[in-house]
Structures are given as C-alpha cells and as structure tokens.
C-alpha cells in the first residue's frame, strides 16, 4: 500500500467494514467488492438502503458491483490516474474543494524548492541511462531551523497547491476521455457526483483492491485517490477514507509484522548496506517535524527498535553493542522482491527456496519463467495444507505443465501443515482488527502447525552450528527462545511476545512507575529505548495486556450507534478504528458535522465514539495536525522523495499497451511507461506489441473461488467448474465466436484455452482514436483438484512490477484471441 503511507502516514485501510454504512457516496474503482469481498460489501448495500447512499462503479467490466450500482462508467484498464487526475483538476478549477480542511490539514500551503520541475512527463532529476531519479529537488523549501516555508493564502506559485493545480490542469475532460475511453458525459456525471461530497456533512468512501495495486503505476493510482479525498475533506470522517480491501485473510497482519524483504515488524525497516552507523540509522528513521510542534510520531523510532531487539536477542542486546545492530542483515538491494528473486533464480543465483502457504507457480507472472527458475533450485521446501502446483512443478501434466521431469534436479520437500480450523491464533482483517480463533479439531495425518515446522528446522540448524561451527552465528545462537516447549512455541507465548513486556520497571517523566518489571505493556507509549522493554511488534502493543488477550473480545455492542464496536477484537493502533479521526473535527475541535463526528475536544481532552488517533490532551490551540505519523502533521499532496517516480502522480501507459504511445506525452518515449519502473532484460524481450496482440486484458477473481485453493473443494468446484474468459459482443462477432465456444488466448509468453463467455458487459472503447477491446480473464482453475483441468492464467501475464512495490502488472497486458 505504498500510495497511502506517503500521503497519510500509514499504509492501511483507514476506516473499517461496518463504517462503510455511514458513507453518502461509495466509489468502487480498482476492485469489485461485491464479487471479491461479498460479505463486507453488505455494508455498501446497508449504506444504500439506510443512509440514502449512492454507489458508483468505474471499471473495465460491468461487474457484479456495477450490477447494483447507481452509476457505472467504463474505463480502459490502467488509466485510473488520468480519470482521477482529471477529477482533481475539475474540483480545483470549479472551486469544489474543502478549503478549510485543505488549508489546515494538508501540505497545500508548503513551498517547494525553486529548482523542482516537471517537463513532458518527467520530473527533475531523471537519469535516462539508469532509469532512476535523483530526488534532490523533490523537497520543500526550509527556513534556518529546518521547517518548511508556507503560504496560507495558497497563492504562492510554488506552494504545493499551485503546483498541483498546474500539474493536473493538463487532464481536461477531452484528454481524460481519450486516454480512458470513458465517454465524456459519463466522466462528467461521475465527477459531479463525487464533487457533491465536498460539504461538511457528506462523505465519500473509496473502496479499492488489487485492481489498483497490480499495475506498473499502482502506487500512484492509490495516491491520486488519496489526494482526492484530502481535497474533499473526506479523511478521518465517518463513512470516508481510502479503503484498501486486502486480498487475503491475513495479508494485513503479515505486512504489519514486516514479512517483506526490506521490513521489520511495525513498519520499521532493515538498514541498507551503507548504513553502518547505528545512530545514523535511527536518526534517519526518527523523522523530525517539518513544521514546528507537530507530533511526527516516528520520532520515537528508537523505542520501538530497541524493544524489538530486546524481544529477539534478550540480554545479548545491550547499549554497548548498539542493541545487536550488526546482527541485523543489511540490504544491498532496495528490494529483494519476488520478481527480483525469480530473475536471480532463473540465472541460478538462488539455491534454496521455502514456500509457506504460497503457490508461486500459479500466483506469479509468466509461468514459463517461474518453471525455468524453480528448475534451477537445488532444494525447494513447500509448507502447505494442500497440494499445490508449485510443489509439483516438476511433474508433467501434459499441455498444462509440459516439463521434462528427468531433467529437473531440484530436491523438493512437501510438508503438511494445519489449516485455520486446526490451530489457535489471530489474523488481522482489512480493518486492522486482530481477531483470535481456536483450533476445533486435530489436523489430518501427521500434519503439524507451521510454528512447529519452523522451530523444527531452526533448532536443528542451531544444533548444527553448535556442533560444527560455520558462518556468522551470533544472531542465530543468541535468538531469544523463551518457549515452554521449544519445539513448538505456542500461539499464546508468541502473541504475548509481540505485544511486549517490561524487563525493568518503566517510569514516566515524573518518575511514576507506569509498568512494572514482568508486566505486559498496555500500549506502545510504554516502550522505551533504554532496554527496559521488549516488544516484537510495537503497533500491536495493547493486544495482550495484563488483563489478558484483547483479541478474543466479543462485545459487539455499539453504544453510539455508529458501528464502531470498540469491544470486539482489538484493532491496531491502540484499538483505534478510524485512522486520522482528529480530522473529523474542525481545527477548533468541534465536529465538521454531527452526523460525521468521530472525536471532538471537550474542553479538556479528546473524546468521542472512537479512540482518538491523536494525543488526547493536545488542545486545539496547539494546532497539531491530524496526520500524526507525517513529519508535517498533514496529509501530503506532495509526496516529496517517498515515491520512486515522482511527488505527483502522472499517467503512464501499461508496459503492454493497446495504443502506440502515451497520449499525455506522445513525443517522449521515456515517458511512455513508468520511467521509474525496473524491467529485466529477459522480461522486456517478452513484452508483446499491440500489432501482434491487439487486445487489452485484465485478470480478476470470482466470488465462488479463492485463488487456486478452492478448486480443491467440492462445493466451489460445483459452483464454478470450468475455466472461462469474458469477451465483449462486438469483438466476439468480429472473430466469429459465440457463447460456449472454446478459445485460445495468447500473449507473448504463452497461451491458455477456455470457454468463451460472450457478454454485453464489456464494451469496446474509443481510445486515442483507436477502438480497444478488453478481455476478462479470471485467475482461477488449474490442473489439480476437483475442477476441470485448465491452464494457469499466469501463463499469460508479464513480469514487470509497480515502480515502488514491484507488485506485478497483472491487470493490464496484451493478448490475442483465437477461436478453436
């Protein structure tokens, strides 16, 4: 969620499922909630039925969400920045922005350096040779004390507001319509509906999912939406927000716990190779305020970091050894993401790979490349409750997986693990709720929990290092292992550890003891940088206190009648349910509107129907900003150096585009596709052209299936037994395809076969003077399980990712369709 954090401070859904019912307008774009999040989507229907809300869907297909929408507009896949950028321009030029909110709660008034600029699709500092930006100029102008200069009238030509206005002024309705293929009248209709939420007592919520993230410009699409919500004053409000609907049951939790190449728990990050000095590492991350007196909560980074090191290394972590700073692995690459990893694997630079509940052969782009890469491994370990295609990548399944088994020298281990119903523990839903559940039955056969498998491998390695010595082993030999049964750490023990506890008495500034040695910490405010506390994930502090496990709470009462249910489970951070909720009140502390109120100032402190996401005693007169994780305290229209391809979003074409150039910059080939994206040579050679593969394709989910799991389930296999693709009527007529025909869909990287569903729900679009047809390809089905055997969809998709996150561009690529 790399678009949200640079704007608001945190990369998570800002509001929550039930709160959707408080919205007046729901914009679903880059997602299809009715299909992919059906039960959560009920709250959209609730808003429509009981809050008189309207629902808008903007999508390449008239999908299941569109079927119940008040208004639907079609769009070409991968052009959402143009659509939303045009909307931003429209709001500014017609003066339909929330002036007071924008002035007080955003960085609109801050002044940007004089040498910052943007020309023909490129921001200042572009190095065409390396495809990288030097971001030096992407900064504010600072005074002698390091605070940003500002102009509260928003008229200074280099204030963020004016730069943003000029930047998006190019996105006129005609230009947007030509880029997106959305007819002008529909565009205008959507824009007007959205503009109406600028008033104090109306909010719009935006729901999106992988339809925004899976583009080479995905993070910037999300940022454009985030900027839109700031302009309208819809952040921090009931029924507002930018709501990232995460795809998997605990994808939020795994991200919170930092299971990504560059992260540590709680959005802390691993040091880079050249960050050799501990103090400099901390200083770089304890971001100081850029406006006087702002909260800028990351200033306490060291408290969270030292507490983590104490949780991991116990007594071995001391001030003298910089809390084991040298023991942490340091990064020589910005990201060791999966595209990078499979590229290296395909060159034989990776020897071993562990797939825990993850099926890369089905889930990663360009299956042929994935197969070739896995075949070069020395060993592969698959930990899963189910059979997966990955574990059997070496097996010949005829046309579906045509490999030469005897030539594949990979040693593959397949380890059976428990499914959710057979284990205790917690998962974090999209709304950031940590919900605890219990095992109901033992697993089948000899399956054991993941924790036992991981501990089993780790303890054996530890023993080998003790017996034999070997490469650097201080960290692994000193890893704190305070578990009663070392071979199987329990969920309770692990949860208590990531919450954290006091190692010594913890005192506040007045020397009062706030937490006694041995007690669980109540919240992250109790964590200290002096080694007196341990906490494995600071943002989860408070989930397991001295009162016990807060994640099991089951009080579903809603005393304020606004849907907050503060007694149900536990939500990070600090059980706050709506992030940035200070912004639901005016600068003076009174709610913008009673029906949108979340927290307010009662004369002494912040109170309300949610836990304030703000220092509770910070009076409005102190004028601290509501976006407490940001150095400015404000929502950021200007991302500074936090985005790879620019501080403002710009439309770039997908790497496989159905048109000849980027209509925004037809004469600059450097600005055709995302200039900040990383493309490996063999992947570039595998991009197709629109001359050969004329149709724009996009992948998606169905409500009856979950990825490649549910094809192993009887019920789901009955509901959706066979692979299909969706083709619009016009194109089907041209190609002589009728409903039920079998077709072959090919890309530069391979082909799949499926049944054709000929539909009115995908219409041809007029894009930059050309007719573009879009093909819809569900991701489900494979050659294992109970459904009819089929090719994996990711045979087709290109291996290129978003410039910031390296999330693959599954949502926009080129194909050809042939009748079989």
């Amino acid at each position: 969620m790399a678009g949200l954090a640079p704007t608001f401070g945190r990369g998570a859904m800002t509001n929550h499922w039930v709160d959707i019912r408080n919205a007046d307008l729901i914009l679903v774009m880059g997602g299809n909630a009715a299909e992919a999040h059906p039960v959560g989507f009920r709250w959209v229907m609730e808003a429509k039925e009981h809050n008189d809300a309207r629902l808008i869907v903007v999508d390449p297909r008239f999908n299941r969400t569109a079927a119940v929408a008040d208004y639907y507009a079609e769009i070409r896949t991968g052009t959402d920045i143009a659509f939303l950028g045009g909307l931003i321009s429209y709001l500014i030029e017609t003066d339909q922005i929330h002036h007071e909110y924008v002035r007080a709660y955003t960085d609109a008034s801050l002044i940007v350096r004089e040498d910052f600029g943007f020309e023909d699709g490129l921001f200042t500092g572009y190095d065409a040779e390396n495809g990288e930006y030097d971001k030096e100029t992407w900064r504010y102008e600072y005074d002698d004390e390091g605070y940003a200069l500002r102009d509260d009238t928003l008229t200074h030509p280099r204030c963020v507001f004016q730069l943003m206005r000029v930047h998006f002024s190019r996105y006129t309705p005609d230009v947007v319509s030509s880029v997106c293929g959305t007819p002008r009248d529909k565009l205008q209709h959507v824009w007007d509906m959205v503009a109406a939420t600028v008033v104090n007592d109306k909010t719009m919520t935006i729901l999106y999912a992988l339809g925004w993230t899976q583009h080479s410009i995905g993070s910037q699409i999300i940022r454009t939406a985030a900027m839109l919500q700031l302009l309208l004053g819809n952040m921090g409000m009931r029924g507002g927000g930018v709501n990232a609907l995460r795809g998997h049951s605990n994808i939020q939790g795994l991200t919170d716990l930092g299971l990504l190449s560059d992260l540590l728990p709680g959005y802390m990050s691993l040091p880079e190779a050249d960050e050799q000095d501990y103090e400099a590492y901390i200083l770089d991350r304890s971001r100081p305020d850029l406006l006087p007196g702002e909260v800028s909560y990351w200033r306490y980074y060291e408290r969270f970091h030292v507490s983590l090191m104490k949780a991991w290394f116990g007594d071995a972590a001391t001030e003298a050894n910089n809390w084991c700073y040298d023991w942490l692995p340091k990064l020589s690459e910005t990201l060791y993401d999966v595209l990078h990893t499979f590229e290296r694997m395909s060159h034989g630079d990776i020897n071993g790979y562990i797939c825990q509940g993850f099926n890369p052969l089905a889930a990663f782009p360009h299956k042929a490349k994935t197969t070739a890469a896995l075949s070069r491994l020395k060993y592969l370990v698959v930990i899963d409750p189910l059979r997966t295609e990955t574990a059997e990548f070496w097996k010949n399944h005829g046309e579906f997986n045509d490999v030469n088994t005897a030539e594949i020298g990979t040693e593959v281990f397949r380890l059976p693990t428990t499914a959710f119903a057979e284990e205790d523990g917690s998962i974090v839903n999209s709304s950031r709720w940590l919900q605890w559940f219990w095992a109901a039955a033992p697993p089948p056969g000899e399956a054991i929990p993941d924790t036992a498998i991981l501990a089993g491998i780790f303890l054996r390695m530890q023993q080998m290092y003790r017996d034999e010595g070997g490469a650097f082993s201080d960290a692994l030999l000193n890893l704190s292992w305070p578990y009663r049964y070392p071979a199987e750490p329990s969920a309770n023990e692990l949860a208590r550890e990531y919450n954290g506890w006091a190692l010594e008495d913890v005192v506040d500034e007045q020397r009062n003891i706030v937490c006694r040695a041995g007690e669980q910490v109540e919240d992250f405010g109790m964590l200290r940088a002096d080694g007196s506390t341990a906490s494995g994930c600071w943002i989860f502090a408070g989930c397991w206190t001295n009162e016990g496990n807060q994640m099991i709470r089951r009080d579903n009462s809603d005393p304020y009648g606004v849907g907050q249910t503060l007694g149900w489970a536990w939500s990070w951070p600090a059980n706050r349910r709506i992030l940035y909720n200070r912004a639901s009140a005016r600068p003076d502390g009174t709610p913008w509107a009673e029906r949108k109120a979340v927290v307010w100032w009662n004369g002494n402190r912040w109170v309300g129907n949610d836990v304030p996401d703000f220092p509770v005693e910070s009076a409005p007169t102190e004028a601290q900003g509501p976006f407490i994780m940001n150095q400015t305290g404000r929502g950021q229209f200007f991302a500074r150096d936090r985005m790879v391809e620019g501080p403002f979003p710009e439309h770039y074409e997908p790497f496989e585009t159905p048109i000849a150039n980027n209509p925004m910059h037809p004469n600059n080939p450097l600005a055709k596709n995302n200039p900040g994206a990383r493309v490996f040579e063999q992947d570039r050679a595998n991009f197709g052209s629109f001359e050969e593969f004329p149709h724009a394709a996009t992948t998606y989910r169905l409500t009856e299936h979950f990825h490649y799991w549910t094809m192993h389930n009887r019920l789901n296999a009955i509901a959706q037994p066979e692979k299909f693709v969706e083709i619009g009527e016009t194109l089907a007529n041209e190609l002589g395809i009728v409903k039920g025909d079998r077709v072959r869909v090919s890309s530069k990287r391979g082909h799949i076969e499926a049944v054709a569903v000929v539909t009115k729900r995908i219409r041809p679009l007029q894009v930059a003077g050309r007719t573009v047809h879009q093909i819809g390809i569900p991701i489900h089905w494979g050659y294992l399980g109970e459904t009819k055997r089929a090719h994996l969809t990711n045979t087709l998709t290109p291996s290129v990712g978003d410039a910031n996150t390296q999330t693959p561009e599954f949502k926009s690529f080129l194909v050809r369709v042939d009748k079989l």
């Binding site: 999040h37 059906p38 959560g40 009981h50 998997h248 049951s249 605990n250 994808i251 795994l254 716990l257 299971l259 990504l260 728990p265 050249d274 050799q276 340091k330 060791y336 993401d337 020897n351 071993g352 797939c355 825990q356 509940g357 993850f358 889930a363 060993y379 409750p385 059979r387 010949n396 005897a406 040693e411 281990f413 499914a419 959710f420 119903a421 523990g425 917690s426 839903n429 999209s430 109901a440 039955a441 000899e446 399956a447 993941d450 924790t451 089993g456 780790f458 054996r460 080998m464 750490p489 990531y498 494995g536 579903n556 809603d558 249910t565 409500t703 389930n713 009887r714 019920l715 789901n716």
Partner: protein, 197 residues
C-alpha cells in the same frame, strides 16, 4: 437488561434490516436458545469460534465438531456456519466461506511429509525428523557457502541471499512473527508474502 430471542427470531430480525433492528449491535447474543433449534444434527457438538481463512473481511465462523473429549476419541469438524454475533458478517458467509468444510476435508489435504528426489517422478513418504534434518542440512550448507559478512565496500552486511522464503498470508500473526524472527536471525533478506503480489 437481558433480552431473550431464539436463534430463528434473531435471524428474522436481522433480515428486516441490519441498522434498524440490530440485536447483535446492542450486545444481545441469542445464546440461551442456541441449542434448542439444532437439536438433531448438532446436539452434543463442540462449537469453536473461528474466522474464515480466505479474504480480508474476516467473517466470523462457528466450527461444529464432535468427539466427547475422551482420550482416543478424535474431534472432527462436520459443520461450519456463520457466527451471528460477528459485527461485520452477522452470520453471513459467501460461497467461499460456505464451502469451508470442503476445504478442511479436501481430498487434496496433505497428510505426511514427502520428498521428491532430484530427477525422479514420484513423492516418497519420509519421517518428520528426516525431512526437517535434511532441510536444515541444506540450509546450513548453503548458508555457510554463501553467507556474506562484508560486502565489497567493506560494509558489515551479515546477510544470506541464496535461500529465500515466501511467507503465507493465511497464516496466523503468531506464525508470521516467529517466521520473521527466525528468518532475520539467519540473515535472510529474500523474504516476501502475498502483499507483494
């Protein structure tokens, strides 16, 4: 204040409109009546609270299992339904959640550790101890051979980049936390989860 509703009434009320008659929202769970209308099929079942393992809505589910708790009697789950108390899902499940029982009992569930030896075309059953020991050996050998303590510029990096891991987004926070802790202590940096894709 207590309020008695049967489970059936409760669902009816729910159907009228979630906002207007939200019993669950007011904290009234239909506990006392639970047993009375499930007399036949679910009598004697153990009910365990859980959450759907698929998408991020995190719907509440109730797992019904039988087994009398005695030694030698093994619990098995034979019914799954939505948790009516859950503030988001209120008893609903989508077609995926409704099929959870088939996932738990799928023919494709793995039961034993197995290995596919290089170049062969079959799975061989092995013991846990064999599997974990062989894997640990592979990892240690690779780590010892390829661990980098200093890079070319002389920076201490203490990392291991030739074995990587994908972590599971349906696993628990507790599993994820333990994974993170172990992986970093080994110096691994090639780590991702489904959030990447």
């Amino acid at each position: 204040m207590t309020l008695k509703v049967t489970r059936r009434q409760f669902f009816k009320l729910g159907a009228v409109g979630m906002a207007t008659s939200s019993m669950a929202m007011m904290g009234f769970a239909p506990e006392p009546a639970l047993a009375s209308i499930r007399q036949f099929k679910l009598t004697g079942a153990k009910i365990t609270r859980s959450n759907c393992t698929y998408c991020s809505v995190g719907c509440g589910v109730l797992l019904y299992s039988r087994g009398d708790g005695a030694i030698n009697s093994i619990d098995s789950i034979y019914h799954v339904e939505g948790d009516p108390d859950h503030p988001v899902s209120r008893g609903s499940l989508c077609p995926k959640g409704a099929g959870l029982l088939d996932y738990i009992q799928s023919e494709s569930r793995l039961k034993y550790p197995q290995v596919r030896e290089p170049g062969t075309d079959e799975w061989k059953r092995i013991s846990w101890d064999d599997a974990l020991t062989r894997i640990a050996r592979h990892m240690k050998d690779d780590r010892d051979a390829n661990f980098v303590d200093q890079d070319a510029e002389g920076n201490t990096v203490n990392h291991w980049t030739t074995t990587g891991m994908l972590a599971a987004s349906a696993s628990t926070n507790e599993t994820a936390y333990l994974t993170q802790k172990i992986v970093r202590s080994l110096g691994m940096v090639v780590l991702d989860n489904q959030a990447r894709v």
